[in-house]
């Protein structure tokens, strides 16, 4: 059951990545495109506590590295860092409300942008990201909007497929 849930979420992430690289790009014309995979990642970091969550984060990072064309390991590092951070904060934040989920995704997206900029500067990558803070905030805002689309769906999917974690209780 746990394996089935893992595979399902892995496929979901893959499909979302494909959609993000095609349909979402067309719809948003590449401007303020929400990074839906990050939303799933943070969701997993908040609600998953097993090794399967870690594997998913690594898989998402790997896939995004393949699709993005950046140096391999860029998103692997960013995603695993954000995942552990989300897991660390999940017990301290009151995430029952949608508002807090939006705020959390916004914060994590912004943090991801900062890490990406730092990595690009660190290696003097030619395709280094812009350090424009307003752009980072705007992209983080777009990701936060993605919460409204994905979190309800992910919650439903998790209750249907995933083994309920022992550490979390659904009321």
């Amino acid at each position: 059951m746990k394996l089935r849930g893992f595979v399902m979420f892995l496929l979901l992430g893959w499909l979302i990545l494909i959609l993000q690289s095609t349909v979402v790009s067309y719809i948003t014309y590449g401007v303020l495109q929400p990074e839906l995979l990050l939303v799933i990642l943070v969701h997993g970091g908040v609600y998953r506590r097993g090794a399967d969550g870690v594997l998913l984060a690594l898989s998402y990072g790997y896939l995004l590295d393949l699709f993005s064309g950046r140096h391999f390991g860029t998103y692997l590092f960013i995603y695993i860092t954000l995942f552990f951070l989300a897991r660390l904060l999940s017990v301290r934040l009151l995430l029952q409300t949608r508002f807090m989920q939006v705020v959390l995704i916004f914060a994590f997206s912004f943090l991801g942008e900062l890490i990406l900029a730092a990595l690009s500067r660190l290696t003097a990558a030619p395709q280094g990201v812009s350090l424009e803070i307003s752009g980072m905030l705007a992209r983080a805002g777009a990701n936060a909007v993605g919460v409204l689309l994905l979190f309800p769906f992910l919650g439903w999917l998790e209750r249907r497929i995933w083994v309920k974690p022992k550490t979390l209780q659904y009321g």
């Binding site: 067309y26 699709f67 390991g73 919650g155």
Partner: protein, 297 residues
């Protein structure tokens, strides 16, 4: 919707440290992978290529599906709005066209009134303007109805003209309206001159769109195209108003007079504004009485 209850979990300390250590190792490991690849970029391995090979067809399908849906939307569904917009634009164009026509009418009216004003200033007589409100219901256009009556200063017998020429005279008037007898009516008569030769005669209506000039002496030189103007001797019309153009000559083999046919200077079926000219004091020649020869036998 179930409410998520988050509770801190207490675990044995060694296991928690193990988890923290694992996390740090993973983070450090991925950072190392990144750093190594940034310094020495690696080509895609077989697994990478497999993942991308599997992904590419799906990407192509998603793109094609979106383009198809996008095409359907913009070529069919969105045309509903285009149709509505087209209807609105047509209506808007129609309104603009009507407005433009109104402005053209105002412009034409302005031009006519300006000519009328110039004409009345040249005539040197007090005048009243009036607007045509109705035509003779028959097809002969023998009378006009104007929107100036007794209250507006109209008097029976006043000369009525436009800048283009003579119209007729006031036949009857009441409080706010008057009827004008057109020069084309057989009962109408205007003392006139052939402008070029100063030959004098009387212009009468024929009951149709044409006029005839009577009492022209046979010896008077008249030819087609000559302009006929008012003489000013009849105490109704001021001198020099255009009556019409000679269109046909009819000389009898015998007799004293000749008769010519005249095309009115004004298209009486299209008159819109007119001026009513007050009658001048009769000239001395008029007081003595103009010679009126007898009808040609």
């Amino acid at each position: 919707m179930p409410v998520l209850m988050l509770t801190p979990i207490s675990r044995p300390a060694p296991r928690r440290w193990l988890r923290v250590l694992s996390a740090l190792l993973l983070i450090g490991g991925t950072l190392t992978i990144f750093y190594v690849n940034a310094k020495h970029p690696q080509d895609l391995n077989a697994f990478d290529r497999t993942v991308l090979t599997l992904s590419a067809p799906l990407q192509r399908m998603a793109t094609q599906a979106f383009r198809w849906a996008d095409g359907v939307w913009f070529e069919y569904v969105a045309l509903v709005d285009v149709g509505r917009e087209n209807t609105q634009l047509r209506s808007h164009v129609q309104q603009m066209q009507n407005r433009l026509n109104q402005l053209r009418e105002v412009d034409l009216e302005n031009q006519r009134l300006r000519k009328l004003l110039d004409f009345t200033e040249q005539s040197g007589r007090p005048f009243r303007t009036a607007r045509v409100v109705g035509y003779d219901p028959t097809s002969h256009y023998r009378t006009l109805r104007i929107d100036r009556g007794l209250e507006g200063g109209a008097v029976k017998g006043m000369a009525v003209a436009t800048a283009q020429g003579v119209i007729g005279r006031v036949l009857r008037c009441w409080s706010q309206y008057s009827d004008v007898l057109l020069i084309t009516d057989p009962q109408s008569g205007v003392d006139a001159l052939v402008q070029r030769t100063r030959a004098r005669g009387t212009v009468e209506g024929m009951g149709s769109a044409a006029l005839r000039m009577k009492y022209l002496l046979r010896l008077d030189e008249v030819q087609e195209g000559d302009l006929v103007v008012t003489s000013g001797f009849d105490s109704v019309f001021p001198g020099g108003l255009l009556v019409g153009t000679v269109s046909n000559l009819r000389k009898r083999p015998s007799g004293v007079f000749q008769e010519v046919q005249i095309v009115p200077a004004v298209d009486l079926s299209r008159v819109e504004e007119v001026v009513l000219l007050e009658s001048p004091p009769p000239p001395a020649a008029e007081l003595e009485g103009p010679p009126r020869p007898a009808e040609d036998p």
